[in-house]
Symmetry: C2
Subunit: 171 residues, 2 copies
């Protein structure tokens, strides 16, 4: 049942990815938003590292607590209680909430177990649920990343943006 942890990509060139995504979003005149739990602001931080990012990055929700997920993104507390914060329904609701509560047409949401504690047999450290909402269509995916807390967070930022860019390119 448990997917093997993905080896860390040899080269996580996040700035190059951000540049590509900035181009794609600006071609379409779309704004983006990020809803982050385990990455705690790093996706927004990576996007806004690029000068001029206000042209396409609209806002970020760092929903670290469960209350924040409900209050900021409208995630039903019952959904969190039933499935846990690290789950497909919560990732989906976060992505949908990020678009509904912003000016963005593209959004990525992440909720996972960055570690070193907080893992369980069903959701070991490195488990991340992703949600993307692009032009009205929502996609979710579960991944597991290897490494320490910093490595899991960086790999999560990379995969979140890589997939968002692909979906913006070909929704």
């Amino acid at each position: 049942m448990i997917d093997p942890a993905a080896p860390a990509p040899a080269d996580l060139d996040i700035p190059a990815l951000v540049l590509r995504m900035a181009d794609l979003l600006q071609q379409r005149h779309w704004m983006m938003a990020a809803a982050e739990s385990c990455t705690g602001g790093l996706i927004a931080g990576a996007c806004t590292d690029l000068a001029g990012s206000s042209a396409w990055f609209e806002r970020g929700f760092v929903t670290y607590s469960n209350e924040a997920k409900s209050e900021m993104l409208g995630v039903d507390a019952a959904l969190i209680a039933a499935h846990g914060a690290v789950s497909e329904p919560v990732a989906r609701a976060m992505a949908e909430g990020a678009v509904a509560r912003s000016q963005a047409r593209a959004a990525v949401a992440v909720t996972g177990v960055a570690g070193p504690t907080g893992g369980s047999p069903e959701k070991p450290v490195g488990t991340v649920w992703f949600g993307w909402s692009v032009d009205g269509a929502v996609r979710t995916e579960r991944r597991r990343f290897e490494g320490d807390r910093a490595a899991v967070r960086q790999a999560t930022v990379h995969y979140a943006l890589q997939t968002l860019a692909s979906l913006v390119e070909q929704p």
Copy 2:
């Protein structure tokens, strides 16, 4: 009128600062929140780099657009129109909004010109307005930091957390 740019501190040991703040907040059983414009999530990202940060970091508002400042933090749009997003009243309103719209008792807000563009004679690149709200008291301060976009953002994260820690220690 224009304050000289502050030289970058020789050593911006942000992880050590986060560790100190985590200790201080946990001693008081307080949660914190961050409201970020020019740092775009880096303050939240630095806080949540520390394992176990969910015990004291509650949420972050990455209010990159003016609409986000108003919708997420309740900053009056008329205040932004009158004073500009990089101003004392907006930094104050962001800090107040971050506490009012979270479970946090301590919050920091930053709004500034990270550059390389967006500067003006009155608000040159590197200008940052800070707001802190700690246990009901609000403090604001303007600083100007030297260096490129990355340096300005890092110096802003450092000063935001350094001052927040001092205010939590001795409100």
